[in-house]
Symmetry: D2
Subunit: 427 residues, 4 copies
């Protein structure tokens, strides 16, 4: 029995296969020689499951898709402040080969254009690293995202270096503004090596899935970067990832994404999925023609747009009833679903604004699927206030979705596995 | 007993109150005369609950906050194609008073700069409307978002019109490119009236909540715009709403937002909440100083960043067990939580890839909180394939979260309210 | 016997006649309807002689050729400071329809682009003039340049006003920066009337000749503007007159010039000649195709490039000899040619550095053709120093090329008509 | 007895000496260490006379003043077409450190900005030269302009090379557009050596005088470049020489000029004079503060503005009379002054349009000071037409200002030294 998703992917590839518009990148022979018919697509889930169709194990160079990952490594290795001081986060509204430096400071507008990406490369690893060590750090970092050791295509790298005059121009300009503090030639050399790392669509999907999975590689379980870095990288991908078509992408596709000139294209939807496609023919923006079509379809078919929200959901308060009567009566709020701020607000409202008359109040979390920080804090604040008002409060939490609950400041809560415990253990 | 959330808001206002940097807009006397100490913040939930602190019922002019709503009305009244042909969606990277037209077509880069907003105003309502009727349509539309009839501050409007030379310049330029097809003075007059609509922070929060609530006003229940329009508007607010600081906002706050020169600031997080703040002192970008601080705090405290996802959630498959044995055995998958593509994928995988040996398979949706389109379609496809493989399939769905399930094409599914029904009704 | 120059012009027209590339301006029907085959060229000398060939008496609208003249009127009527405060003199490097305002002040970059020209129009005449009076002042001023009363083509003007949205945009933008202080619509209306003045190639040549003739109309003898204004206008025409092809023009043609969209083109070479051509087909810069060809030929054939200097000329000191001997000996320096700083320097050098032994020194100006201010001052300073050194100094100046010579400060000089007077009137 | 001009220069220096605004260039220690009080000014006439005051023999590096000379060498060594294909002539309206390449071709806008100057350096000498040979060619060429062997300041050069990142950026960008075809590092190295050539104010004035003297060094008599190159270089200096203040300079000073960051400033007025000043403090445009003041004064005091023409001159036809009567009568036109097109036109007009009745016509050139090509051709055409009409024509030209006159095509002219020869030699 074959996979539903794999069937879907195969069908999607079939639909775009006939589109032979665009041309593979032609500025170096190695890219120009790419087989333009290659076509593949991969979904990687945040628990490591991979679905693919087409050419998903063909190796090609990662090129600009390395940019968000090298930016992530720079943020991880140096911290936010030094990186933000040298690389902006503003959309440039310009093509990928524009310089786009801030006119006064020389700071690249964002890490997705070459100027920002060369700077990001130079900030990966500690400041003490030698150029070769920095390349090693970056390749190692990219490998951690992919979950397997990646290697450089030396032939592509050598050819790219022969055509690196624009990047050298950018690097010297950055050096003249002290944005780069190392030898510009070494930075371009290292950046070019970074772009020459060989990947497959499968690798790219796993790298994207690592971003979607809060920075933890779903297969290896390695935490590659911390969550604030993930958030920063995904935000920048959403607003700057597709060059001068960023707005079109943000409205129509709405998935943080990045494309590479060798034909790769990735997207990462936090908490859900990493996606990669591979097709070498490029549109005038430098993005894969069929890759863009596939992403438009994926976003639309699967509701992956970041501004998409599930249609009306069940109430977070499944039931609100009283068990027993008199002094033994227990007010039970049975909660359900994923609770974030909006859900917590409703729980708080129902709990507090309809001040319970019962002495005992139980919040039943058995059917709660997920709960975030702010919701947890709000529920604990409710228990604290109930305590102060003289109530005895129970948390029914058989699977410990709220570990070690501490309402603090006079609050008190009793955790039980089952509402029956409360009912039977009358006070 | 007072609200936890109201306390939180009051505390947040207290923290920013001491920041008296910035200046109210001074280009017309009416704005310059605003009390700079005014300060208010409002949360409006998608079910219509309003939490506020400070000056939440003070009226002020909506100004640029009208832009996303008028854009929404244009999309709703004319459809996407005619509007996209005249107004782009690309971040401009420029200040609000730049012209920012595409050099070849004269198309404004996006609807959040004045050129785009004037164009959007001219596209609200049908093309046959007279200028005064168009203003009426816009005011009526803004009122529908707010849930109460709004009115124009004629004194501010008259004063703005005396200082409308930049907007007149923009409108004539748009007219010369045939982006505007009506009299430029009428368009500027109408746009200025739109900007002079009086609102309170409470109104603004409700308008934002209408966006957060899929386009339905939470109080009136009126569907003001359809979901694709909501998605378009929120996407553009996220990438272009805060002028030349769009990237900073997208990374640090991550909430689709819009500010107005009278001191208002709104944010809308789809499915969760509408937020509004009011404080007249502006930073050099033209955004409310204290408003920006409050949003940074709200985003951070409450995990509202669009790239934020809840920390590790419980598995969507709560349990996978067999009830009974032999030919009567039933494979039961107990599902839970909110199910979107990623969750559905896991369910499909667990169901299909471990092809059950049991003849009867039940998917128990009792603890499922929400389910979106793609997830619903995937579950039905699973039931179809199970049917074709000779299984009998049950959906345990006591609250009809999947109405009228039809796997189609040879699939068949039996809906029951309780797993017990299946166990006892042996085949 | 026909004129050598008229023959030359006819031959030149014949050579360019076959070039039918380009198109007449098509934005209004009146211009689009121009007969594209019309072709004429006129030379007007600074003493009023006119040579023409082809369509030199066909009327067409002056359009942008009015710009330098209106700028001249503004400078004449308001003085330099108020005009320079509102209109820059920097080349814009941009097409004629760009806005090109300084980003901080809103000041138009120069008076040859529309923004600067609209501003210049508004500065013609006193600040108290009503719009209609200002138009009258401008038409009167243009007429003074042409030497005959000019009138407005009302049909063209009305049609232009219907397509004036870009100019209205510019004017409102200027008003928003307080560069314009009057009603933008009135300014555009007036400017459009200015551009709709009807002229012939003959008129244009005479207008150019007025600039070439230090601001005095060669025919009427009326001083239209003062010399500093002429210098300013010619300088700006040289660097900004041909829009974005200014550098090409300055190097290849080297004549201060201005073109109009109706097909006119003028050039003015100070002290020598005014030139006008008329041919309606325009190149992509908006300049007359055949007009540009003609000017290239005129400049090359006639050595009219401003950086062209006559080949080696005779020495300014024609002879330096002594007449008589003993105490009656006279040192005679016979001067010749046009004397400017460089010539005066040689005279001073020869006179002073070879300190004459003779008691009497005569500077013979009989063969001097012209002498400028600085040269006159330098010669007088020489006579003063010779006096202080005990010499008796004579100026032989039969035609009073140095009127009322006064060396000042102890100097003394005797003017005679003939060196014989000095020789015979022994001291 | 001291020179009038030297006194004038000393007085001018005294007047600007107190202005200590601005700062010497500080980006390398060698320039920052310059004595800011140094001040000198030199006039060099086109016959080699030098007047100086102040620090005229202090050596400093030529810097950007080398740009027009290297451009001249490129034009001389390669011809116009290859150079114009790689370097434009349009004013950039930008500061000296902007890149200013044409967006499509990558061609630098003009040779006075660094991009154009680096390109010009690479085009000096033949295309086969090795980098070191090219530097030799450039230094040799600059020396020819100066009239003495110049040498490189190796310390400044080495220091500049350490801060050459912006120039390296520019050179790599030029290389990426194939504007530069050699190694960018070699080009920047060579250009930096060119800028490090040591000169004095005296040298610079002589270099400028070589431009003013049609490309012939006034002292050595060496023709360094041909006249069309001179014209091109002076035109570009006038429109682009003073960076973003080009328009101010063209209107207020009106002398083709170039400044250097070490404090030098030159101006060249064709046919008249070369000027150089030296004062290290720079204004924000990068031009010498006191140098600019001095040039403004020189231009104004001495009428050096290119658009300045001598006030009304004597008529070019000094007299028009008949000697003798009957068949022996001779019509004599006594000409005077410098004759260019405008003068020749008047002579032609007077001669032809008043078709003489006398059989013999004499044009007396005795008092003619200079005559240019077009004027010579026009006079000869007049003689030809007179011959064809049956006149006998004489040229009285004792000093051979019109050598070997040949009217051609049926024309005939007799050259005599004295009108008496004609009178006595009756036909």
């Amino acid at each position: 029995m074959r996979s539903v998703i794999r069937d879907y992917l195969a069908e999607a590839l079939g639909d775009v296969e006939s589109d032979t518009s665009g041309e593979p990148a032609g500025y170096i022979p190695e890219l120009a020689a790419a087989d333009p018919e290659r076509l593949g697509a991969v979904f990687a889930t945040v628990d490591g499951q991979v679905y693919g169709a087409g050419d998903i194990d063909t190796e090609f160079t990662i090129q600009s898709i390395s940019k968000p990952f090298a930016y992530a490594l720079a943020l991880a290795d140096r911290g936010f402040d030094p990186v933000l001081a040298r690389i902006g986060v503003e959309p440039s509204g310009e093509a990928f080969n524009q310089i786009s430096l801030e006119s006064d400071t020389g700071r690249p507008l964002n890490p997705m254009i070459n100027a920002g990406a060369i700077t990001a490369h130079s900030l990966a690893g500690s400041g003490e690293l030698k150029p070769a060590e920095r390349v090693e750090r970056v390749v190692h970092g990219l490998s951690a995202f992919a979950g397997r050791p990646l290697r450089i295509d030396e032939a592509v790298c050598a050819s790219e270096l022969e055509h690196a005059h624009r990047n050298l121009a950018i690097a010297h300009m950055l050096r003249s503004h002290d944005i780069l503090t190392e030898d510009p030639r070494a930075a371009v050399d290292g950046y070019t090596r970074q772009c020459s790392v060989l990947v497959t669509a499968r690798d790219l999907a796993m790298m994207a899935a690592t971003l979607a999975n809060h920075g933890v590689n779903p297969l290896s379980g390695e935490r590659v970067i911390r969550e604030p870095v993930v958030r920063q990288v995904l935000s920048v991908m959403l607003t700057c990832g597709m060059y001068d078509a960023a707005g079109d992408w943000a409205t129509q596709v709405g998935i943080p994404a990045k494309s590479g000139v060798a034909g790769g294209l990735i997207g990462a939807l936090p908490g859900q999925i990493g996606i990669a496609t591979f097709s070498p023919r490029l549109d005038p923006h430098g993005n894969s023609v069929r890759g863009v079509s596939l992403f438009e379809r994926f976003s639309s078919d699967m509701g992956l747009h970041v501004m998409e929200v599930p249609a009306a959901a069940r109430a977070v308060v499944r039931s609100n009833h009283v068990i027993g009567s008199g002094p033994h009566a227990i007010r039970v709020l049975q909660l359900q679903g994923g609770i974030r701020f909006a859900g917590a607000e409703r729980i708080v409202r129902e709990t507090m604004d309809t001040a319970p008359r019962e002495a005992r109040v139980a919040l039943d979390l058995t059917m709660v699927y997920s709960i975030d920080d702010v919701a947890r804090r709000m529920l604990l604040e409710v228990t604290r206030r109930l305590t102060l008002d003289g109530h005895e409060v129970y948390l029914v939490d058989p699977e410990t979705i709220v570990p070690r609950p501490d309402p603090g400041d006079g609050g008190r809560v009793t955790v039980v596995n089952d509402i029956e415990h409360v009912v039977t253990n009358k006070p």
